[in-house]
Each structure stands twice: as C-alpha cells, then as structure tokens.
Symmetry: C2
Subunit: 389 residues, 2 copies
C-alpha cells in the first residue's frame, strides 16, 4: 500500500474552504446551457394545464383546490390560486409552512395529524391562514381541540371517509356521524364536511373503468351524506377527486371541491391511461439529463437515477426519441438501449426524460427550472421539498 499511496498522492494542497456550487441555470440561458440533472417545467404546457382544469371546475360550479403535495412549490401554488383555485391541499403540516409564508390563505391538510409537535405547528398556522384538517379518530379529535384552545386558534375539520382507498378514514356512516357530533361539541374546531379521496381509481386504464369506479365512489359518498342528513348535520364540504377522474368528479353533483394535483404536470403513470376526447393535459414536466457514457454501440448511460427521478412506478420515458428505451434505473444512472447504432446518442447529448410519478420526483429537487420555448425564464425553489412532518 505504501507505493500506491505514493503514486496517488501529491504534495498537500492548500487548506480547503467551501466552494459555492453554481446554480443549474440562469434566467435567459438557452436550455442547452442548463446543467444536469435538472427538473424542468415547460411553462406554456403548464399554464395550459392550469387553465384547462380551472375552466372545467368552474363550468360545473365546483371549487378547485389543487394538491400542493404534487409540486411542493409556492411559485406554482400562487399561480393556481391567482387563476381561481379556492386554496390548496397539503398532505403534511410542515409542508404547508412555505405556502402560507408565500401568501396562500386557505390550506386543507388532507390527512390525519397526530402528535403534539404537529398539532402545535398546525395551531400556529391557523392563526395566520384558514386551515382545515382531516380526522378519523376520537382521541385525535380531542387532542386537536385541546391544542387549538391552548393556542387560541381555530381550525375547520373534515371527517375522512374511506370510499375504497383502504388507507385512512372511517369505515361506516355511523362512525362518521358520531365523529362529526364530537367535533361539533368540542371548542375551537368546526365540522365542515367530509373528505372522500380514492387514489387507487385515478390510474385505472380505460375511461369506462374509471367512470364506473368513480360512480361507485359517488354512491358511497351519498350513503354518508344521507346519514348526515338523517342526523340533521349540515355537511357543506365534500372534498376529493383527482386528475384521473376529474371529468366525472366535477359532474358528480356530490363533490364541492376537487383535489387534483398531477394535472399541471402529467407523468408516465397518468399518460398511460385513456383520456377519451373530453380532456387533454400536456406533459409539462421533464428531467433534463446528459449522456455520460456510450460503452457499446447500443448502450447510452444518462447522468440521472433514483436520486433525481422516482422509479417505483416504472422507469422514465425518453421524450422525442421513440427508439431509445430506459432499461434500468440505478442510484445515479439511467441505462438506455437504442434500437440501432444510428439512434444511440453521443456522449454529451442532452435528453429530456418524462418521470414515472411526478410527486416523489419533485420531492428530490431543490428547484425547478421554468422554461419558455427554448430559454430559461426562472428558477423556482421547491420550498416544501423534504418537509414531510
């Protein structure tokens, strides 16, 4: 080992100091100058998507409350609200903090909140913004009320009902009514309605399957609403729905607000379903990568992997290159196979990849490079990245 050490090491370099890592891009840069891997947003497609969903919701008199867990980016949320969204959803209390700081005044935590640190943070947020939260448990409701009293804050409460998702949520209308009564009885919390989200049916492939599944969900919700009516409990809010079923949800006459998130971006998961003629959302979200190795005539390796794109629902798809296929996603590499030597890109080639699942992909990046046409318009911080408490 002595010899090895000698061969490898030179004289000691000067004392280290922290080197600033330059930003991936600067406004005005051409796309080719963006350092990779980077998450990029095609603003024209993104703005089209925002308008399409907003118009759809308004046409049916239903509120759009986009889910900010999809993007975790306040710059995106304030554009959704400016276009007419009634507020946003967040999935975690800490996630809501940068959105409230950016001026979003109405946030539904579309999830159960358990534990004193989280309830205290929720109470502090509720003194600055209109906060709502979901419940499915008696003791959790009691803890929520106590903390709100302690902080002299108030919060709106939705009873979470399980309409087939098999995740959280009460299982029967009787439980829902009993929990709503408890909420009505306790101080500093107000019962306003139910959350009925069913993520599983968002990705059913055929339009017809999704329509049938959405109808079944609507029938389940009606069962709950009937129980509330019999118990003479007003239930003004029914929150739920998603990108895959939005066209049915807005027309269902049960939802008062839609929680869609992915519609603004799309991903390979959602691109794989049949959208019919009714609705069209465009891919606006890409990963920009660079070919870093071409070891064989058919193989190209791109400089991004699991640390830049989620892959639990499949490998990313290569945009604009139908002859290139991603066959493996390693921690920092995607392995591409070309159909022929001619179609294999050279080292240094920039490629756009469409992520498999947009939500966890946003959560890997500190900022998104917003692009208009062929140039960078802005860098938007993904301020809620990693805020999972």
């Amino acid at each position: 080992m002595e010899e090895v050490q000698h061969a490898v090491r030179e004289a000691d370099p000067p004392q280290a100091s922290t080197i600033a890592i330059p930003p991936a891009a600067r406004p005005g840069d051409p796309i080719e100058a963006v350092d990779t891997p980077s998450l990029i947003l095609d603003l024209d497609a993104f703005e089209d998507n925002l308008r399409t969903m907003q118009v759809l919701a308004e046409r049916h008199g239903v509120a759009l409350r986009p889910h900010a867990k999809a993007h975790k980016c306040p710059e995106i949320a304030i554009r959704q609200v400016a276009l007419g969204a009634s507020g946003i959803c967040c999935q975690k209390v800490s996630e809501a903090v940068p959105f409230v700081a950016a001026g979003v005044r109405d946030v539904l935590i579309s999830n159960e909140v358990i534990g004193a640190p989280k309830l205290a943070l929720l109470a502090r947020l509720a003194r600055q913004a209109h906060m709502s939260v979901c419940v499915d448990n008696v003791r959790a409701v009691e803890a929520l009320s106590s903390m709100m009293v302690e902080y002299e804050a108030t919060v709106n409460v939705l009873v979470d009902i399980d309409v087939g998702q098999k995740r959280c949520g009460v299982q029967t209308p009787e439980e829902a009514v009993s929990l709503a009564r408890l909420v009505q009885k306790l101080p500093n919390i107000s019962f306003v309605g139910v959350q009925a989200y069913h993520g599983g049916l968002q990705h059913k492939r055929s339009l017809d399957q999704r329509q049938k599944a959405a109808d079944k969900t609507v029938r389940a919700i009606r069962g709950y609403l009937d129980a509330f009516a019999r118990a003479q409990i007003e239930c003004p809010v029914v929150s739920g729905g998603g990108t895959g079923t939005a066209a049915f949800d807005v027309a269902s006459q049960v939802y008062t607000e839609i929680q869609a998130g992915t519609y603004a971006f799309m991903d390979t998961d959602y691109a794989a379903i049949d959208w019919g003629d009714a609705l069209a959302f465009r891919h606006s979200l890409y990963l920009l990568g660079t070919v870093m190795s071409t070891p064989t005539p058919e193989r190209a390796v791109v400089d991004l992997g699991l640390k830049s794109t989620s892959a639990e629902s499949g490998a990313p798809r290569i945009a604009d290159h139908p002859d290139l296929r991603c066959v493996a996603v390693h921690d920092e590499h995607c392995i591409l196979l070309a159909g022929s030597r001619r179609s294999r890109p050279e080292v240094g080639t920039q490629l756009r990849l469409i992520p498999g699942h947009c939500d966890p992909t946003f959560n890997l990046h500190d900022c998104i490079v917003a692009v208009r046409g062929q140039h960078v318009e802005a860098l938007w911080p993904i301020s809620a990245r990693g805020l999972s408490r």
Copy 2:
C-alpha cells in the same frame, strides 16, 4: 358555492409571516420525543460496522475508501476517515463539495464527468483536495485535461472498466490501454489505475453465488492488468468491490481499495443475503414513524411514505414487530397489516422501519438523528442531499 365559502371561511386572519419549523429532535431528547418521520442512526451499531469493515480491510493490506453516495453526510465521512479510511468515493462532483469543505482530503469521483460546468467544479475542488476521476471516453479525457490546464489544477485518472455491471466503462483491455496512454500523454491529468465496480453481484443471495461471481470479476480484472503489464503501463490502483462481496474482494489480491458504502448502515436488500459466518454487519439505520390511523382492526397507517423511504426495491420492514407487515407504500403513508387485532398498534405508537435501500433513502432527508441507546446524541446534516450534478 357561495354558501360553501361562507361556511368554511371566517374573518381574515392577521398577515402571514414565516413560521420556523422546529427541529425533529434536540440532543438529550428521549427517542419517544423525536418528531416523525425521521431518519435515525443507532450509533453503537454504526460504530461497530465502521470498525468491522476497517479491520477487515487492514487485515488484508487493502485500503478502505467508503462510498459517500450511500450517506451524503460529512459527519459520517470524517468518522470513517478518522478510523483509517484512505479517503472517500463520491458519485457526483457537486456531491464532493460538502465533504471537501468538511476536511476530507482525498475523493475519488467513481464516475464519468461530462460537461464544462462539472469539469470546472472538479478543477476547483482539485485545487483544495486530492481528486481522482473515472474515464471511459477519448473526448471526455481531452475535455478533462483542457479544463485542468485552464484552472491550473491536476487530477488523478482511473480508467473505468466494465467487468459485468453493463453500465459505464470500457469493454476491452485494448480500449483500456489506449485510453491510459492518452491520459499519460495529456497535461495535468495522471493515469493511476482502474475502477472495476460490479454492483449487480453485491446482492446475489447465496454466499457461494457471490463468491463465484466475485471470482469471475477478479478474472476479468486480471485480464486488464495483464494487458497493462504487456503495454508496460504501471497500474497501481484497482478500486472497486462493495459491501456484499467485501470479504472476497479484500482477499482477492487484485483490489487495492474497496468502495463499500452500505456496510455502515445495512438495509433490507443487504439483510436478505446470506452472510455466512465470516462477517456480520448490524442494522444501524431506521426510519422512525408514527401510527396516524387505525381504521380497521387489522390495518395501521404510518406517517411516512415514498417521500421518506425509497421503495423501488421493496417496502420497508417493521423492526421489533414480526406480526406487522407493510403491504403498500404511498407518497406519504405506509399501510401496515397486523396478523391479529392484538398485534395492531394504536394511533400514536412510534415504530422503527428498516428501509429497503439505504442510498436513495438518505437522499430524501435533510438530517439524520444520531441516537445512543434511548437518547438523541446529535443531529447530523445530510449536506450532500440533492447534490446530484
């Protein structure tokens, strides 16, 4: 909608200001007080693992150069170096920045580096620390040398050889020799050896299969070393190996340094392989979660999902609860099924989960909560989290 708005909204709250999110824990806290989800490190097990691998390498006169891509945490790297590691590996140039800033003086970028922004950053690092880098392409070698000349920096170069991984790396000994000659010819870069990493064989289940696969890799490496000898090119460094094959790698007489990373932490991937009697690493890395919903007698939902744990290689395993099984990992939830009503934990219960794959899991967290026994000892920033360029 007018009525809904009225029911949900109260008077406008005071103007928002940014609320600071409290840290997940403070030194001295009992584990029960740690907010979730959090990544926790059992320091006793972690330190055992560091010593086990260091001793193994030293006994065979082989250098240990732990892979920092596994943890991205300078506090961990400086402990590895303090115990005797010869330096570290990083997979990306930007990833190396916080480690060099923390005082690590010898970093191998165990990967190809393509593009001017990355080469410029590498050159700046090379003026502060001993930097090495891998190459597998003629033009990349030329670009590397040019940039080092421009910055008046020098860098050591390893030719990356593909010994079965089918990712990057030259395909034949002739290519390797020709690339080494080019490196020797060009200014400010020095040929020091080869990188021969084969990730695929790390996870082969049986000890015997791994031994055979490792032997095959060693034979492939010898083919390259013979070609260098025939060409009269000195090749002092052979870098490669990993946690799964470490026991064979150190005894192989070809590797001069081992790039293992996961040995310090372990995960369900590595726990699933047969370790034989020779070597034992302990689980030191856990996700701390809280049960947030128990909607049915058998189902419990934990407050962490894909944004806190990687799941592309399987769901996390629940520690200390053999009767609890994770059946689904959503973006922010793990769905657990209990074998019986009795074994289903209550809302508020803290659980420790073992992640499926440690590298991408570290990359989701901003800090790790280092725990000694039942108390928090420190919070270590995962400073290279998200540094993927």
